[in-house]
Amino acid sequence: MNRLTTDICGIQMKNPVMVASGTFGFGKEYAELIDLNLLGAIVTKGTSLVQWDGNPPERICETPAGMLNAIGLQNDGVDSLINDKIPWLQSAAADTPVIVNVVGKTLDEYAEVARRLDGVPGVAGLEINISCPNVKHGGIAFGTDPSMCAEVVRAVRKATSLPLIPKLSPNVTDITAMARICVDCGADALSLINTLLGTAIDIKTRKFRLANITGGLSGPAVKPVALRMVWQVASAVDVPVIGMGGIMNADDALEFLLAGASAVQVGTANFVNPQSAIEIAQGIDDYLVTCGVEHVDEIIGTVQS
């Protein structure tokens, strides 16, 4: 599939279809169901400096054509990532770049995680999660406040020479403003969107369905919003944009590429069909063949108004 080779700020991928953070664990969970080496890249679950407990259950709830999650970034911390998970991925999926999704509750935590990952073999880049709506201390505030957003990106930029990919929150008035700030502070690429903040109530118990009250909406329901934001951001900045939000099949992915995304991530779709990302890469290839296009790069951002 030579048509699909993709380079995102120096990260070489065999195709532009990555699996999204938090929806694919650390790769191992899906290793028996799909060939990890066929993925464009794997983005790990959000990883913090030390182990995080996450939120109490209920953590998830299905919604029309979507789902809410309030996992709260449960993870074992960066050292466990470096010592166990990355080495495992290096042996099991040697052909697939690994991008680590970085979270923190303070600027220092973000920076320290980035510092520890700098130079670790098998880590191709960092996706900076400034947009998780499920963490109280930092998270959402970093991603929706322009000055805090700038500070995080600057701090992480100083701490690492790895490609830096801030992941933007959709819960803002003007996502292009946040995108520009990230680029000005040293971002090499941008990922969007993270989840939309939502909630659900159980009318029988009269309680919120999530222990955390609110959670992040993902899945096909959010696709029109995600696509709009990707188009806006891709039109506003010069760095590559990685688009996601509700991509379930190749047609959805192609919409994002046409809107200006240089690569896409598949999230919630993995839960529905673990083969999604691989089938999407294949479907993009089929489309290019059908349309007589030689390389996927040629269609990126070519939607006509």
Partner: protein, 271 residues
């Protein structure tokens, strides 16, 4: 790497209706070969984005090239599943999760405590135990709301050496003991007609909690099968956690991966 889980589009062989319950049998030789009692399959019920996610159902039978589940129509997903006909395909991932740990010694007494739709995995467990150790030391106690809701009673009876080895309870007294299945458990332990049994339980959380308390009181080994809302079913999303004891503190573990079967004493029941 040896694989222990499969995703396949399985042909439906039987799909029988019994009131609100359905017995679904599909062709899945690989899953059948791998399946252990207490494990589950993750099924795509519809074909559209609404409902979006798969549904977990316990494995009820895994024989030769066939897998069976027994389920209750609870909401939209199971209602859509119920529309599928023999010959249709259903997309299945399985077997998933950590099932029951079988007793190591055939001399130990074993008691299975089930409630409602918790019966199917215990039925699979009972037949597996019967194959390995025979039925001599097996007692089953199954509760349901009414006599009609006793979904696997005949099978449990078939695996019991005498009437005392298969005990039913109903909330409304329409069959067996009138009241909770845990009343029976407690009475049997008290009367010492059961001595130091190993307990396996599956059913509604309040029942499991009651069983766990009894097990603790009598210092018995007890395994419980828990439910949780699931997204991935394979351990990737961290969505399905429950709280367990962890040294002095607590931690969250995944029902789909570390579970659905847990040692009762591991589980933090208070919440």
């Amino acid at each position: 790497m040896s694989s222990s889980v499969r995703q396949t589009k399985c042909r439906i062989l039987q799909h029988e209706c019994d009131g609100n319950f359905r017995r679904l049998v599909f062709e899945a030789p690989e899953i059948a070969a791998l399946a252990r009692p207490g494990q589950f399959v993750h099924l795509l019920c519809g074909g559209t984005h609404d409902p979006l996610l798969r549904r977990p159902l316990s494995i009820y039978r895994a024989e030769a090239d066939q897998v069976a589940v027994l389920y209750e129509i609870r909401g939209r997903g199971t209602a859509l599943l119920a529309e599928k006909k023999p010959g249709d395909l259903v997309d299945v991932i399985g077997p998933l999760g950590t099932g029951f740990t079988l007793p190591d010694s055939p001399t130990q007494q074993i008691v299975l405590v089930g409630g409602g739709i918790g019966a199917p995995p215990l039925s699979f467990l009972a037949s597996t135990i019967a194959k390995s150790f025979g039925c001599e030391r097996l007692t089953t106690m199954i509760g349901a709301q009414t006599a009609e809701k006793h979904i696997c009673a005949d099978e449990f009876r078939g695996l019991s050496v005498d009437d005392n080895a298969c005990l039913l309870a109903t909330d409304d007294g329409s069959c067996g003991h009138s009241g909770l299945v845990t009343d029976i458990l407690r009475e049997r332990l008290k009367s010492e007609s059961l001595i130091s049994p190993m307990i396996y339980a599956c059913g509604p959380t309040p029942m499991l909690k009651a069983v766990a308390l009894i097990a603790k009181e009598y210092h018995l080994k007890c395994q419980v099968s828990l439910e949780a809302k699931m997204a991935c079913g394979v351990g990737a999303c961290m969505g399905c956690v429950i709280k367990v004891h962890n040294g002095g503190g607590c931690k969250y573990v995944r029902v789909c991966h570390e579970g659905p079967v847990f040692d009762a004493e591991e589980v933090v029941w208070d919440e």
